[in-house]
């Protein structure tokens, strides 16, 4: 994997309504790297992702893309939100194709869109409207739309939520293949420690709000063992998930519910 820095952030802070959400985050991701962000609920992981996506403007700090400041809005970034955000008046295929329409790609890449829908297990559902599908199916459609956008930087906010375990393994493989074959950088917020351990090159543990980076774990098991599913069978995987759990419990000690 190349070590060329794709995104770098220094002293990133964000205050909203007088409340500090992000507090001096230093972060970087190399081109082609997969980084998982974990931490307690409400600690600011989504806010952090929104800042990187250019949706929220940080109160302080700097974000550089390709070592150039103020390139946030110029970069091709694909962001999968925590909720599916499918347009209710468009069927699934048209929802996936929207990024091509926005970028005025003509003709739109219909075959590629169908391919992504099929890859997330939604073959045959192209003509369905979002309200006709379950929450998990909508989530997968949102993932297909995000990957179809072909962003240099892919940001996924809890892509594994409301998806059953076996399908999650399939999606992990899909994400891993997509990132490695297309040399994309990926930052993924997740509550699933095993997904983070199986898929990511690095795992960032964030503290409670105001959020800081508490610890960074080197993982890279998927690359080492030839895929996230194979990584799950490795001894390192169990060691890593145990370490993640221990550190999360330690970090969240104050908020732990007494039995």
């Amino acid at each position: 994997m190349a070590s060329e820095k794709h995104v770098e952030a220094w002293g990133l802070g964000l205050a909203y309504d007088g409340k500090h959400i992000l507090d001096g985050i230093d972060f970087s991701i190399a081109r082609g790297e997969i980084v998982a962000v974990i931490g307690p609920s409400g600690c600011g992981k989504t806010t952090f992702l929104s800042v990187l996506a250019g949706i929220l403007v940080p109160s302080c700090g700097t974000v550089q893309i390709n070592r150039a400041p103020d390139q946030l809005h110029a970069t091709k970034c694909a962001y999968m939100f925590q909720d599916d955000r499918l347009l209710p008046w468009r069927n699934l295929l048209d929802n996936v194709l929207i990024s091509d329409e926005i970028r005025r790609i003509s003709p739109v890449r219909k075959r590629a869109a169908l391919g992504f829908l099929s890859a997330v297990g939604l073959e045959g559902f192209e003509a369905y409207y979002p309200h006709e599908l379950s929450g998990g199916m909508r989530k997968r459609a949102a993932l297909a739309r995000t990957l179809f956008q072909d962003g240099e930087l892919v940001l996924l906010d809890e892509p594994e939520a409301s998806i059953d375990y076996l399908l999650r393994l399939k999606l992990e493989r899909l994400i891993f293949q997509y990132v490695t074959q297309n040399a994309r950088s990926l930052i993924m917020v997740t509550h699933s420690h095993d997904t983070a351990a199986a898929l990511a090159d690095r795992i960032v543990l964030m503290t409670r709000s105001p959020s800081r980076i508490q610890m960074v774990f080197d993982a890279g098991l998927a690359r080492q063992y030839g895929g996230p599913t194979k990584a799950r069978h490795a001894t390192d995987f169990f060691d890593l998930t145990t370490a993640l759990l221990d550190n999360c419990l330690e970090a969240d000690a104050d908020a732990r519910i007494s039995p």
Binding site: A53, G54, I55, H73, C77, Y79, F81, D83, R85, L87, P88, W89, I98, S99, E101, I102, Y129, H131, E132, Q149
Partner: protein, 264 residues
């Protein structure tokens, strides 16, 4: 188990109307000068047939239908455009809204003499009155619909680096379309009112003109025949709006079908 909603057949919907017409006919026949004062279904029906055969009724109906439809289309197009523009330019919205509210509070009857002076007693003045009657409702509904666009969807397009105009086309307009159609359905009655008032004040043809002439002769059955014509126009326009809605909002229609599907 989900309760299923059974569709009421047309004959069942017609029962209250048939009962009302029978009671009306019987009451009018048994009262002194009942048909003179209240008309009767038979006398109204007779006028409908006679005046349709000599062609005068259909001409009047056609004129009112044309005025109402033209005014309805113009008023709704202009109103929808204005309302959606207000979302696009909040400053324009802030400046224009008090004027729109003031315009909406003016009874159409009050401005109709001026409009007739400006446009003459022919079709244009009636079309203008129908258009003015509908414009405010269309504007307010379009603006409300646009304002209630889900901000999360706008955020999605923002993340895709879409321009404001693209977000407007791809998200705001489709979001507002349900509101637009709610306004259009209300506007059927307003357009009809505008055209009718124009004909009532000064006209050479139209159902309003026919009704005012019949009133002068105390011909209640003919007045009521004119009212039937107004109901027909209202029904036709409402049906057209519903058809357009089914065509333009298929996702809502499919949702409704799904809700009405009987439980297994």
């Amino acid at each position: 188990m989900r309760a299923s909603v059974r569709k009421v057949p047309i004959w069942a919907k017609a029962i209250p109307l048939v009962v009302f017409l029978c009671l009306w006919e019987v009451a009018a026949r048994h009262m002194t000068r009942g048909v003179f004062f209240f008309g009767s279904p038979y006398s109204v029906g007779r006028y409908l047939v006679v005046k349709s055969i000599d062609g005068s009724y259909l001409v009047n109906l056609g004129v009112t239908l044309l005025e109402t439809t033209a005014g309805f289309v113009i008023g709704n197009l202009v109103g929808s455009f204005l309302g959606l523009s207000f979302w696009y330019s909040p400053r324009l919205s802030q400046v224009s809204r008090p004027y729109i509210v003031a315009l909406g509070s003016i009874p159409i009857f009050a401005v109709s003499p001026i409009v007739i002076i400006w446009f003459g007693i022919g079709l244009p003045s009636k079309i203008a009155l129908a258009a003015i009657s509908t414009m405010v409702v269309a504007t307010v509904h379009a603006f409300e619909g646009a304002s209630q666009t889900d901000p999360r969807l706008l955020e999605l397009l923002h993340s895709m680096r879409a321009s404001k105009f693209t977000a407007f086309r791809k998200v705001v307009v489709p979001s507002a379309i349900t509101w637009l159609f709610a306004g259009y359905r209300m506007n059927v009655a307003f357009a009809l009112l505008g055209a009718f008032i124009g004909e009532f004040i000064s006209a050479e043809a139209g159902l309003g003109h026919m009704i005012i002439q019949a009133m002068g002769l105390f011909n209640i059955p003919l007045v009521l025949a004119g009212v039937v014509g107004l109901c027909v126009i209202s029904f036709v326009l409402t049906s057209m709006v519903n058809l357009a809605q089914k065509w333009l909002i298929p996702w809502k229609v499919r949702r409704r079908i799904e809700k009405c599907r009987p439980a297994a």
